[in-house]
């Protein structure tokens, strides 16, 4: 149930993040079980009812070194895997499709280079998409749970996020930074299309010309 780690990952980053997660959680579960079992065992073994005479042990330098040293190595490996995964999430590939995403209370707007404007994000399966994130009011955060990525959308600056889908389909986009009344309803979707279908969609600029015509008509 927990680990939605089944099936094909929706994106390259999904796989990377899930692997780091499995690594850290596996070590953590072992440590937790180790500490808990030892504690419960001691409580039974050295229960006062058994009449042991307590022994004052003031400490042990080797043990201290051991339980500082081993955790240090463990957390450094966690840091390293986390960092390597982070590079996959953040490094901008050479060839990207670029979209400007604008957040406002409480919806998203996506502007494409050819003038198309949508409230649902359409992206090709390949190449990866580079989102330029900006906000016109307060802070928001562009979050695609299925891809395991998010980046805050901060008023007054431009952040970026890379989407590297591995499968076509529709995925939820949530706002993850509290932005007021309808924060929880600021959902949209990212629609990942095959490159062919995407090009078909992208080259249909009738809505753009319609918008321009309306503007000209004014």
């Amino acid at each position: 149930m927990f680990l939605l780690f089944t099936g094909d990952p929706a994106s390259r980053t999904t796989e990377v993040v899930d692997n780091v997660m499995i690594y850290i959680v596996a070590i953590s579960v072992l440590l937790l079980i180790g500490v808990t079992v030892t504690m419960v065992y001691f409580v039974f073994k050295y229960h006062r009812n058994k009449g042991h005479k307590p022994v004052d042990i003031h400490g042990n330098v080797w043990l201290e070194i051991l339980w500082i040293g081993i955790p240090t190595i463990l957390v450094m490996t966690m840091f390293y895997y986390g960092y390597m995964g982070f590079r996959v999430i953040r490094d901008i590939p050479d060839n990207v499709f670029e979209v400007n995403a604008t957040a406002r209370m409480w919806n998203w707007q996506f502007n494409y280079d050819n003038g198309k404007i949508t409230d649902t994000l359409y992206i090709p399966l390949d190449p990866p998409t580079l989102l330029h994130l900006s906000s016109v009011d307060v802070n928001h955060s562009f979050y695609v749970p299925a891809f395991r990525v998010k980046e805050d959308v901060i008023a007054g600056r431009e952040n970026y996020l890379i989407l590297q889908p591995a499968k076509t389909g529709d995925y939820d986009v949530a706002c993850a930074e509290y932005c007021g009344l309808n924060h929880s309803m600021m959902y949209t979707k990212v629609k990942v299309l095959t490159p062919e279908k995407f090009n078909l969609w992208y080259s249909d600029t009738s809505s753009v010309s319609a918008a321009k015509a309306t503007k000209a008509g004014l």
């Binding site: 939605l4 993040v17 997660m21 850290i24 959680v25 953590s28 937790l32 500490v35 808990t36 504690m39 001691f42 409580v43 050295y46 229960h47 006062r48 005479k53 307590p54 022994v55 004052d56 042990i57 003031h58 400490g59 043990l63 201290e64 500082i68 955790p71 957390v75 966690m78 840091f79 895997y81 986390g82 960092y83 995964g85 982070f86 999430i89 953040r90 009011d137 307060v138 802070n139 749970p145 395991r148 990525v149 998010k150 980046e151 805050d152 901060i154 008023a155 007054g156 600056r157 939820d172 706002c175 993850a176 509290y178 932005c179 007021g180 009344l181 309808n182 924060h183 929880s184 309803m185």
Partner: protein, 547 residues
């Protein structure tokens, strides 16, 4: 040291006051650290119950998707108030103000803190801050709806009473700073003869580390709050991007205080754990110096990790990996403490009375909280889990499972000393068990929700999250019942409980050498300390002290 530490006239601090008044005035004008500790206990417990009520009502709203109980504006105010009350009125002041006040002077063999009047003033400042928080709920404009973090620009734009609420936090900060100053001075100047730093009980060490964070970190939030108020009132353009300000600067300044504040919350709890385990294992603490220095290490490294709250905010990738690295470093001293605590149980003579059971529950819950901290300290996983329910679960395991559990542990450990009454042990044991079950039902589903992509501070949610939310809400009901049981047991025993002996658990730190409740000015003759804090060979001699 047994000579002369016994109360001569058997009158406790409840019967004798520091001033000529009687009744309620003798309490409101008291400079006795023990009475001030109890004043804090009453006020802080009251706000804990208020904060918990907000939490239970939020959980009720979240029992199913859509509106159940309240609209989104009310819900947004509820989670803000839950946060503000629990952080600023319960968990930051909680353990230092209650147990620090009451037991720090007792444990170092002092008659009071260094500045008793300042101590009373700190309580009044706390009450003033609390009144301001309550006022901000009632005034037109409506209760603040920004979340307890008051992130800009939203906090500049909302029409709710943000200025008053953050001013309350500003005022409360002074209470914290003054208490910190008082404790640092007390530890340096008021220790009984013979008590060098390495003969201090570990609770004193943890209070000492905490006090330094209170003094050094709290002014940062004070200044930040003033800047936000100026921004709201005069539009000076420091943080607000529409005026050329930088909202990220606000986040930096906020977390430069608020991350060390997390250690203000947890360090005293760790100190209390280090008291309870030796007493109930009846042997000396394992790794005294490792535990003492790890408190200082946490206090120091704790200053350098604040930006891990901002991994997705758009700060540079370099800043992100540096802060991730430091975050993993700060995990180590906490690990050292846990290992030493468990080692202290080795070859002890363990009597698992309620305070010890609370501590066992703490070690499991706090370990889960700490280990999931590694998950959100790691960059790749945090990018996914930041601002989701995973983080909500993580900090409730650390703060409530950690500090909250130890609030009860401390209360059940020292209650007989503070009030001279004993509670019902059987009911107390049941409370701990129920608490552990309720806690995990309430918060563990949130880890899963977070990984599934449920963002935090959400009034409504997608249908696929319903089941886990339902489990969590059921947990909140059991938790509510447990909290009633916990407090009812204490209140009942206050009125009808059996008289507690001087040393019900067989503790050896100085507070167990005086009567329960302690006399005014604690010690008729200041003890000379010629032994380590957890030397249980003293128990034989101490039998003659009680009466």
């Amino acid at each position: 040291m047994a000579n002369g530490v016994i109360a001569e006239n058997n009158r406790s601090f409840f019967e004798e006051s520091t001033n000529r008044h009687s009744g309620i005035l003798s309490w409101l004008l008291t400079t006795d650290h023990k009475r001030i500790g109890i004043l804090y206990l009453i006020a802080i417990s009251a706000f804990f119950i208020v904060g918990a009520t907000f939490g239970i009502l939020m959980r009720l709203e979240l029992i199913a998707p859509g509106e159940t109980l309240m609209g989104p504006q009310t819900y947004n105010s509820f989670f803000t108030l839950h946060g503000v009350i629990m952080i600023f009125l319960f968990i930051v002041p909680g353990l230092p103000a209650i147990f620090g006040n009451f037991f720090l002077p007792l444990q170092i063999g002092a008659r009071d803190v260094a500045f008793p009047r300042l101590n009373l003033l700190s309580w009044y400042i706390y009450i003033l801050g609390a009144i301001l928080v309550v006022t901000s709920l009632l005034l037109p404009g409506g209760p603040v709806d920004t979340g307890w973090t008051f992130y800009i620009p939203y906090s500049v734009r909302t029409g709710t009473n943000v200025s008053l609420a953050i001013f309350a936090a500003f005022v409360l900060g002074f209470s914290s700073i003054l208490t910190g100053l008082n404790f640092v001075t007390t530890v340096h100047r008021m220790r009984a003869p013979g008590m060098d730093f390495f003969r201090m009980p570990l609770f004193v060490w943890s209070m000492y580390s905490t006090a330094w964070i209170q003094i050094i970190a709290t002014p940062v939030i004070g200044i930040t709050i003033l800047l936000v108020m100026m921004e709201r009132l005069f539009g000076i353009g420091i943080f607000d991007p529409s005026l050329g300000g930088d909202p990220i600067l606000y986040q930096h300044l906020f977390w430069i205080y608020s991350h060390p504040a997390v250690y203000i919350m947890i360090l005293p709890a760790m100190g209390i754990v280090s008291e309870i385990i030796p007493t109930f294992a009846r042997r000396t603490i394992f790794g005294y110096k490792a535990i003492a220095f790890s408190s200082l290490a946490i206090a120091f490294v704790g200053y350098l990790v604040w930006a891990h709250h901002m991994f997705t905010s758009g700060i540079s990738d370099t800043a992100r990996w540096i802060f991730s690295f430091l975050t993993f470093i700060v995990a180590l001293p906490s690990g050292v403490k846990v290992f030493n605590w468990v080692a202290t149980m080795y070859k002890g003579s363990i009597d698992p009375k309620p305070p010890f059971l609370w501590v066992m529950s703490f070690i499991v819950l706090f370990s889960i909280g700490g280990l999931t901290g590694l998950v959100v300290g790691s960059l790749a996983t945090d990018i996914h889990l930041h601002d989701t329910y995973f983080v909500v679960a993580h900090f409730h395991y650390v703060m409530f499972g950690g500090t909250g559990t130890i609030f009860f542990a401390g209360l059940y450990y020292w209650y007989p000393k503070m009030f001279g009454k004993m509670y019902n042990i059987k009911v107390a044991n049941i409370s701990v068990g129920l608490f552990f079950v309720a806690f995990n039902l309430l918060y563990f589903p949130k880890f899963i929700l977070g990984y599934q992509g449920m963002p935090r501070r959400y009034y409504d949610y997608l249908p696929e999250f319903t089941q886990l939310h339902l489990i969590s809400t059921i947990g909140s009901w059991i938790m509510g019942i447990t909290l009633i049981l916990i407090f009812a047991n204490l209140i009942y025993s206050l009125l009808k409980g059996a008289k507690a002996p001087q040393n019900p658990w067989g503790g050896v730190t100085l507070e167990w050498h005086i009567s329960s409740p302690p006399p005014l000015e604690n010690f008729h003759e200041i003890p000379y300390v010629d032994h380590e804090p957890y030397d249980f060979s003293l128990l034989e001699k101490m039998k003659n002290e009680s009466h």
